[in-house]
Symmetry: C2
Subunit: 568 residues, 2 copies
């Protein structure tokens, strides 16, 4: 008899539920429900564009509907019954902390805080805490540099402690009334399992490690002394936090009788510990050592793992290195590019003033161009640089234009630039002893744009695969559910059995590889010259006279390459 | 009784004749005739895109028609009669040498050379001699560095000796049969005056000095030893060349009886020595010390003069410094930007795929933007850099793009970049002791694009004027004719009386000046870093660590400026 697992995926604008066959990953039921509140599910503030909150009540209301719909489809179309479901997994956005009371109820449910946006969930993309983030970075640089070393050297305004501290600074009344702050990835499993005390919420290491500076080596959360150096009232919160956090092979608890009855699922169904969407997305895409999973959208999230028996050193500029954040027994490594699809869209819509049809046309034209024959080179920094420079203030650059440069050539140069950005991440991680043999992509661009995939194969000089599932996050959550339900003894065979890649594989073309290696040499010159801002970046040792830097020959080098490529 | 002067202007595609009142510069008759041969008057070669020749027979046939038409209009509309014309001046393109026989007849008129393009006029934009030019530069660097010092450090493939030598290398038969090579600026006056021996052709110092390395200080043309070091057969040509060359205040001769009869002009009318179009254009625009005349088109030609009683040193990167080439008694200084209007047209047509209407729209949109508020910065090198880097292999660059950058912002950044390029020329010339107080522009862009003019006023921090005449080259030639005819005792009062500027003057706006000074600082950083290729360029002394060059902070500096400007 087939058994099934349920994956629940909380995205930025909607929640998705996926019912999956535990034997082979077949997706038998899926449903999506948009959050009803605010703008596309996000509560905004008319005057503060940094603010982005969400309603925990929406999360719970949508949960009921989306799971019901997915199970109903599975039953109708595949005859899969609720009593054949053996486990549940959850992934969410993050860092998305929710202030709760001593009964684990969100503060916004109290009538006196109903109109107070600070009492809602602080969505990952809320940037109100930018000043607190800078002060945390500054303080940690002085007294706890090892904290920063695990998160790329800079603490972000999107992250847990910055948000809590900002609440303390702007809304002390609410802060004092709040008992604890629970990450969304931990809150949803707690809701499923009916956990009524914040102390009993099982915390996932994904959010704790990547966003709250949790690390077993220094005893869990940041120490009391450090938190007190920021603000003594932050320190008091620490006492209410568990000293441990867990990977997805642990259980957060068991499904309550009420939820079981609502959905027609077995009572006491095991619920896995939650994790972030990108991390479970990597699981759903078939992550393993040597594989980089690239979630390509407006930006990218790059996930890798390395056996935790090996010593992974701190990798400068890489956003996060956390033991167990992706898979139990492995170091999870998270990197990313601040803009990929966004850059192509910018060029097509803002510069060329076209729409999707023009993007298709430019892609077709760019595909007919010979690699390198335009002599153009771009830096993919229109939205700053996340990895490896960790500098949101960097900007885009394009060089090599003549009076004959075409828009298709520029479009192709922008595709290539994002591939060079991807290679810079891959190289940085490999330099620190984590080999990357192949890349598995997910996302619409990877599925639709063959030119993008071929350029990446040629630039990265590695085969490029596309995830078989197009809802890898929910599939990853479902795999965690299968593990919780005992379908597999460990995560690796679950991934092996339940994930896959599409038949079409993009393989490097040696002639293109050679050309792009030369162009990448020039990209690196630009990258190091313009990017050496954050102080912790490119490892350039030599001294040189200004006027004789590698830049002084860059345009001529591009011209030589261009001529060579045009004749090839 | 009013007297008139006739200016004849040989452009790249057509010849223009202008009849002008010698008292006040009033233009009373004008005509234009396109050269009938080839493509837009240019004889091309299907396989060699560097080749561009013209037919001397076309020159003469068009001359007859164009002068007749201009005089006819002057008579009909202003009652100006041929017998009131007191002199003729001529300007032409160059270096455009014509191979002639011992009777001063173009070699292409001989039946055996009729089909040989080498026997025609070698138009200025012919680049077939690129190898010979490089060898001349190389040889002069070794043995005659002072030759190069007067022409910006690099001998061009467009110039006299390179073209002659190339003919020798590819068509020895023709070269041996040719008696002499006459520049078009000297050939036309010789035709008007019926000069039948090449030795008797009066040579203008404009072509000789700027293109053939003529200089009185080293005894005229390059010495025999130097020419022999290139090729002994070049040396033999030197013997047939006059040892002197002249400014436009000298006469080339007197109009023949035949031409006088054809046009109804007085026999024996004085004909001034010829000069290049840009140089007589500067005259027509009112050149004097302290004034830079900027002929703005697809590229620019920048002309200045300095009293020859002052010692003008060699100015690195400036195309030409020749005593008397613009005005008698003054050092003529020629500089230029390889692309100006061409860059705007490239962006509008190739990138935005629009036409003139879009250029008007973008100009209107760009005009509404605050200076600096886009944070964009460009290098205006899409067609290389003529002055001050003398490097045709440089390319364009754009930096500062975000996901919100608009096409109007890019268009404005390109306008600004060409203004920064213009300022770099002005600064270089002033550094060497030639002050520039005001700028007079000619050309369609200056007349039509108010945003262009205001940006230039703000960037150059100088008032910007527009020439009153829109045919300054022909007017300059006419002024030379007036001088030849004795209407003025010297060139300065002729210019004073016969030229002027339009009423509309663009004056610097102090707030914009301050902003652009900051952006120019960043432009110079880019310029020096990417431009230090030719080895003779930016004077940057300090040493620095790579990774801590000024470039490493450039993007952040632009961001700070952008925010400041947006709030202003």
């Amino acid at each position: 008899m087939a058994t099934y697992t349920l994956g629940i995926d909380y995205g930025t604008n909607s929640v998705r539920a996926l019912v999956v066959n535990t034997a082979n990953g077949q997706e038998v039921g899926v449903a999506v429900v948009n959050y009803p509140g605010g703008t596309d599910g996000i509560l905004l503030h008319s005057k503060d564009h940094n603010l982005a909150r969400q309603s925990p009540a929406d999360y719970v209301a949508c949960l009921e509907r989306v799971v019901k719909a997915a199970l109903s489809q599975a039953r109708r179309q595949f005859g899969a019954h609720g009593n054949e479901v053996i486990g549940i997994g959850v992934d969410t956005t993050g860092s998305t902390p929710i202030p709760v009371d001593a009964q684990n109820q969100p503060m916004c449910l109290h009538p006196e805080y109903k109109k107070n946006l600070n009492a809602y969930a602080w969505l990952w993309k809320d940037h109100t805490a930018f000043e607190e983030a800078a002060r945390i970075t500054e303080q940690a640089k002085k007294s706890r540099p090892h904290f920063l070393a695990k998160c790329g050297g800079v603490y972000s305004s999107e992250w847990y402690w910055a948000k809590l501290w900002h609440c303390l600074n702007v809304d002390r009344g609410l802060f004092e009334a709040t008992y604890a702050w629970i990450e969304l990835e931990d809150y949803i499993p707690a809701v499923l399992c009916g956990v009524s005390r914040p102390e009993d919420v099982v915390r996932g290491v994904c959010a704790a490690g990547h966003k709250a500076m949790f690390n077993r080596h220094w005893g869990g959360m940041p120490d009391a002394e450090f938190l007190a150096s920021l603000d003594p009232r932050l320190e008091r919160l620490r006492a209410r936090m568990p000293s441990e956090s867990f990977s997805i092979d642990h259980q957060a608890g068991r499904l309550t009788k009420a939820w079981a009855a609502t959905w027609g699922l077995p009572e006491g169904l095991p619920v896995a510990v939650g994790a972030f969407d990108a991390h479970l997305g990597a699981v759903g895409a078939g992550i393993k050592t040597g594989t980089l999973v690239k979630i390509v959208g407006t930006s990218t999230c790059d996930i890798m793992v390395a056996k935790n028996t090996m010593q992974v050193p701190d990798i400068p500029g890489v956003c996060g290195i956390v033991d167990g954040s992706v898979l139990p027994g492995y170091i999870g490594i998270e990197a990313g590019q601040s803009a990929v699809g966004d850059i192509f869209r910018w060029f097509v819509t803002s510069v060329c003033q076209g729409h999707d049809a023009l993007q298709v046309k430019l892609t077709a034209e760019a595909r007919r161009l010979k690699p390198g024959a335009s002599g153009l080179l771009a830096l993919d920094w229109n939205n700053g640089n996340r990895t490896i420079l960790v500098d949101p203030q960097l900007t885009g650059l394009l060089v090599g234009m003549t009076l004959h440069t075409t828009r298709a050539e520029i479009y192709r140069a922008l595709l290539e630039a994002t591939a060079f950005g991807a290679l810079t991440i891959v190289n940085r991680i490999e330099e620190y002893g984590v080999p990357i043999e192949r890349v598995v992509c997910c996302g619409g661009i990877a599925e639709k744009n063959e030119l993008f995939m071929q350029i990446y194969a040629d630039v990265l000089n590695r085969p490029m695969f596309i995830s078989r599932s197009c809802q890898t996050c929910a599939l990853g959550a479902a795999i965690a559910g299968a593990l919780a339900g005992g379908a597999y003894p460990a995560i690796e065979p679950a991934i092996e059995a339940m994930t896959g890649v599409k038949r079409k594989i993009y393989r490097p073309i040696p002639r293109h590889v050679a050309i792009y290696q030369e162009f990448y040499g020039q990209y690196k010159v630009l990258h190091d010259a313009f990017g050496a801002v954050a102080g912790q970046t490119a490892r350039v040792g030599q001294t040189a006279r200004v006027g004789h830097t590698p830049l002084s020959g860059l345009m001529k080098n591009l011209l030589v390459l261009k001529q060579k490529c045009a004749q090839a």
